[in-house]
C-alpha cells in the first residue's frame, strides 16, 4: 500500500499518561526510523504496554503528541491509524477461520475479493500455515494461533507492526522457534516493528534498537551491543544482568576508566560517566566476568557459599568481606566454606556513581 511506503520516521513527543494520580508514563520522547525493529524492554508495570496501546490508539495519552512524519496521529481513532497489531493473547476472532481472520483487515479496507484471496494466501504461505486455512482458531495450537495473529497484522502492509509480548504464552521451545520466525518475517518484509517484551534475551536477539523503560521513564535507547556492554545507569545495568555490585571510593580516574577501593582491594572498571576522585561509586559486573585467581591487590576475597554445575563449569556464590553476595564462575568444583580470591575483568566491569551519592 502507498501508505506503507510513505513514512520516514515516527516521533513520540513528550507522551505521558496518568491513571488518576499515578503516572504510568512520563514525557516519553523517541524517534523511530522506517524499517527498524525496536524493542520496548522493561519489567512489568514499567509503561511499555501503555506506550504501545497509546501508539495503537487503544488508550488516549494524557499529554504530548505522536507524529508520523508531519502528520499528527495520536488524535486518530485506532481504525484510522492503519497499524498492524499482534496481541498478547492473539485476540483471533473465534468465529472466523484462519483465512477470514487474516483477510479481515483487507475486507475493512474494501480491497477486492480476488485481491483479498491472493494476499491472504501469500500471508498464509509466509507464516507457513498452508493446510490450516479453513480451521477455526480453537482448532489450532498456540504456535499456530501466533502465526495467524502475525499474518493478520502484516497482510494489510501496515507502516508499523506493533507486537505486545507476543511470545509470552508459548512454552520455551516454541518461543525460540517463533523468535526466529518473527526475525525471518521482519527480514523478508522490512516492516517497521515495535515489540514489547520483558525478556531481555528476546529483545537482544530481535531488535535493531532497544528502548529500556523503568517506572514510566525511558532509561536508555541503544543497540543490543550498547545495552549489553554499556548500560547507561546502575538500574539498567542491573536489569541487563550485571548481577554483582561492590561499593567503594574512587582513588584514580583517567580516560579509560577509574580505580575504586573496595576494602583492601583496588579494582578497576569502565566509568559510564566521569567520576571525580574521592567520590563514592558502585562497581558492577556479570557472573561471567568474575572468577577465582591468585591473590593480589586487585582481587576480592570471598567465602564460597554454594556452587552449581553448569556443564562447562560451575556457577558459584560467595560472601565478600563486607557481606555482599557475589556470583562468579569457576572451572573447578569449590568446597563450601572455602576461601577464594576473585578477579574482575576490568574491561567489562562498569562503574557508576553510588546510589544516593
Amino acid at each position: 500500500m502507498a501508505r506503507a511506503a510513505s513514512f520516514g520516521e515516527l516521533r513520540f513527543d513528550r507522551i505521558s499518561r496518568s491513571f488518576g494520580t499515578v503516572d504510568a508514563l512520563r514525557d516519553v520522547t523517541l524517534t523511530i526510523r522506517k524499517g527498524e525493529f525496536i524493542a520496548l524492554l522493561g519489567p512489568s508495570g514499567c509503561g511499555k504496554s501503555t506506550t504501545l496501546n497509546i501508539l495503537a490508539g487503544l488508550l488516549p495519552a494524557t499529554g504530548g503528541g505522536i507524529w508520523l512524519d508531519e502528520r499528527r496521529i495520536d488524535t486518530l481513532r485506532p481504525e484510522e491509524r492503519g497499524f498492524g497489531m499482534v496481541f498478547q493473547n492473539y485476540a483471533l476472532f473465534p468465529h472466523m477461520n484462519v483465512r477470514r481472520n487474516i483477510g479481515f483487515g483487507l475486507a475493512m479496507r474494501h480491497v477486492s475479493r480476488a485481491e483479498i484471496a491472493r494476499r491472504t494466501q501469500e500471508a498464509i504461505a509466509l507464516v507457513r500455515l498452508e493446510g490450516h486455512a479453513d480451521k477455526l482458531p480453537g482448532q489450532l495450537s498456540g504456535g499456530q494461533q501466533q502465526r495467524v495473529a502475525i499474518a493478520r497484522a502484516i497482510v494489510i502492509e501496515p507502516p508499523l507492526v506493533l507486537m505486545d509480548e507476543p511470545l509470552s504464552n508459548l512454552d520455551a521451545k516454541l518461543r525460540l522457534e517463533m523468535r526466529a520466525e518473527i526475525r525471518r518475517i521482519h527480514m523478508s518484509l522490512g516492516a517497521t516493528t515495535i515489540y514489547v517484551t520483558h525478556d531481555q534475551e528476546e529483545a537482544l536477539s530481535l531488535a535493531d534498537r532497544i528502548v529500556v523503560m523503568q517506572a514510566g521513564d525511558v532509561r536508555q535507547v541503544g543497540t543490543p551491543d550498547d545495552l549489553y556492554a554499556r548500560p547507561a545507569s546502575l538500574d539498567v545495568a542491573e536489569f541487563m544482568g550485571f548481577r554483582n555490585r561492590l561499593s567503594g571510593e574512587i582513588v584514580e580516574s583517567d580516560g579509560a576508566g577509574a580505580s575504586v577501593r573496595v576494602g583492601a582491594a583496588l579494582l578497576r572498571g569502565v566509568a559510564a560517566s566521569p567520576l571525580a576522585k574521592g567520590a563514592r561509586a558502585t562497581l558492577v559486573m556479570r557472573t561471567a566476568d568474575l572468577a577465582p585467581a591468585p591473590p593480589d591487590a586487585s582481587t576480592v576475597p570471598a567465602i564460597v557459599t554454594a556452587g552449581e554445575f553448569r556443564g562447562d563449569g560451575f556457577v558459584c556464590s560467595g560472601a565478600s568481606e563486607s557481606g555482599a553476595e557475589l556470583w562468579f564462575t569457576s572451572p573447578t568444583r569449590l568446597a563450601i566454606g572455602e576461601a577464594v580470591h576473585l578477579r574482575i575483568d576490568p574491561a567489562r566491569a562498569r562503574l557508576y556513581p553510588a546510589d544516593g551519592a
Binding site: E79, N89, F93, N97, A153
Partner: protein, 288 residues
C-alpha cells in the same frame, strides 16, 4: 483408593445422593405432565381428540394463541433490541452494581406487585398521564390500563431487566481484545459490532430470546389485572385457567396447557434452529 475406584464404577453411593431430587421431580413434574398429557386425550365427552378439536374450532379459544403471541413477540423483540446496545454501554462502566440492583427489583418483586403499581401509575389520574399532560404531549389522559398497552408495559418493565441482565452477562464474556484487534485492523464501531461482537453474541442472544419469550408468553396475572381479560388481552393462560377453575374441565385445561407448551416449544425450536444454522457456518470458536 476409594475415591479413584468409585469414579470408575458405573454406579456408587455418591450417585445415589441425586436420587431424592430425581424422585421429587418425577413425582411432581414428570408424572403430572404425563398425566396431563393423557388427561388431555380423555375428554369428558367425545373422542380422544375432542378437546383439541374443540380448541381449534372455537375462535374464542384458538384466538388466544394469536393474542398471546401478539403480546409476547413484540415485547420480547423490543426487550432484546434495547438490551443489546444498553449492555454494550453498561459493560464499560466500572461500577454496574447500583444499576443492576435497581433492575433486579422488578424481577424479584414479581408481576403482581408491578401490576398493582402500574394500575395507579398508568391510570388516568396517575403520574404517567400527568407527566405527559404537563409536558404537553397529550391533552387527555391516555387509556393504558385495562387495555393491551397496560399489559405490554408490564411485560416490558419486568421483562427488560431480565433480558438485559442475561445479555449483559453474555456481552461481558466477550474478550475486549477482540474488539481492539478489529479496531487496529481498520474496523469502525459499526463494523466491529456487526462483524465481531454480534456473531459471537448470537448464540447467547438466541438463549436470551427464548428465556424472555417463555416469560412473556406465559403472561397471566397482569393480563387479568392490567388488561382486558375478556377482550384484547385474553391470553392462553386465561383460557387454561378458566377451563380448570371455572368450568372444572381438567381434561380441557390440560389440553390447553399442552397446546400452550407446544406453541412455545415450536417458537423456541425455530429460534434455536436458526442459532444452529448461524453456527454451522463461520462462527463457533471457543472464546467468550
Amino acid at each position: 483408593m476409594a475415591i479413584a475406584s468409585s469414579t470408575r464404577a458405573p454406579f456408587d453411593r455418591v450417585t445415589l445422593l441425586a436420587a431424592p431430587a430425581v424422585l421429587i421431580l418425577c413425582a411432581l413434574f414428570l408424572y403430572p405432565f404425563v398425566y396431563g398429557l393423557w388427561l388431555s386425550f380423555a375428554p369428558a365427552a367425545g373422542g380422544a381428540l375432542a378437546n383439541y378439536h374443540k380448541f381449534f374450532a372455537d375462535p374464542f379459544l384458538y384466538g388466544t394463541i394469536a393474542t398471546t403471541l401478539w403480546l409476547a413477540l413484540p415485547v420480547t423483540i423490543l426487550n432484546l433490541v434495547l438490551a443489546v446496545p444498553v449492555a454494550m454501554r453498561v459493560r464499560l462502566m466500572h461500577s454496574q452494581r447500583l444499576l443492576t440492583t435497581i433492575l433486579v427489583l422488578p424481577i424479584t418483586l414479581g408481576v403482581v406487585l408491578i401490576a398493582q403499581g402500574l394500575l395507579t401509575y398508568l391510570g388516568p389520574q396517575g403520574w404517567f398521564n400527568r407527566a405527559l399532560m404537563t409536558l404537553g404531549l397529550v391533552s387527555h389522559p391516555v387509556r393504558l390500563v385495562h387495555d393491551y398497552w397496560g399489559v405490554f408495559l408490564s411485560l416490558f418493565i419486568t421483562g427488560f431487566p431480565f433480558t438485559f441482565l442475561l445479555t449483559l452477562s453474555h456481552v461481558s464474556g466477550i474478550d475486549p481484545a477482540l474488539e481492539q484487534a478489529a479496531a487496529t485492523l481498520g474496523a469502525n464501531a459499526r463494523q466491529r459490532f456487526f462483524r465481531v461482537i454480534l456473531p459471537l453474541l448470537a448464540p447467547g442472544l438466541a438463549i436470551a430470546f427464548c428465556l424472555s419469550f417463555v416469560q412473556a408468553f406465559s403472561v397471566f396475572p397482569s393480563a387479568i389485572l392490567l388488561g382486558a381479560p375478556a377482550g384484547p388481552t385474553r391470553v392462553i393462560s386465561i383460557a387454561a385457567y378458566q377451563a380448570a377453575f371455572e368450568d372444572f374441565d381438567y381434561s380441557m385445561a390440560s389440553a390447553i396447557a399442552m397446546i400452550m407448551g407446544g406453541v412455545q416449544l415450536a417458537i423456541i425450536a425455530a429460534v434455536l434452529g436458526l442459532r444452529g444454522l448461524a453456527y454451522r457456518g463461520p462462527a463457533g470458536g471457543g472464546k467468550g
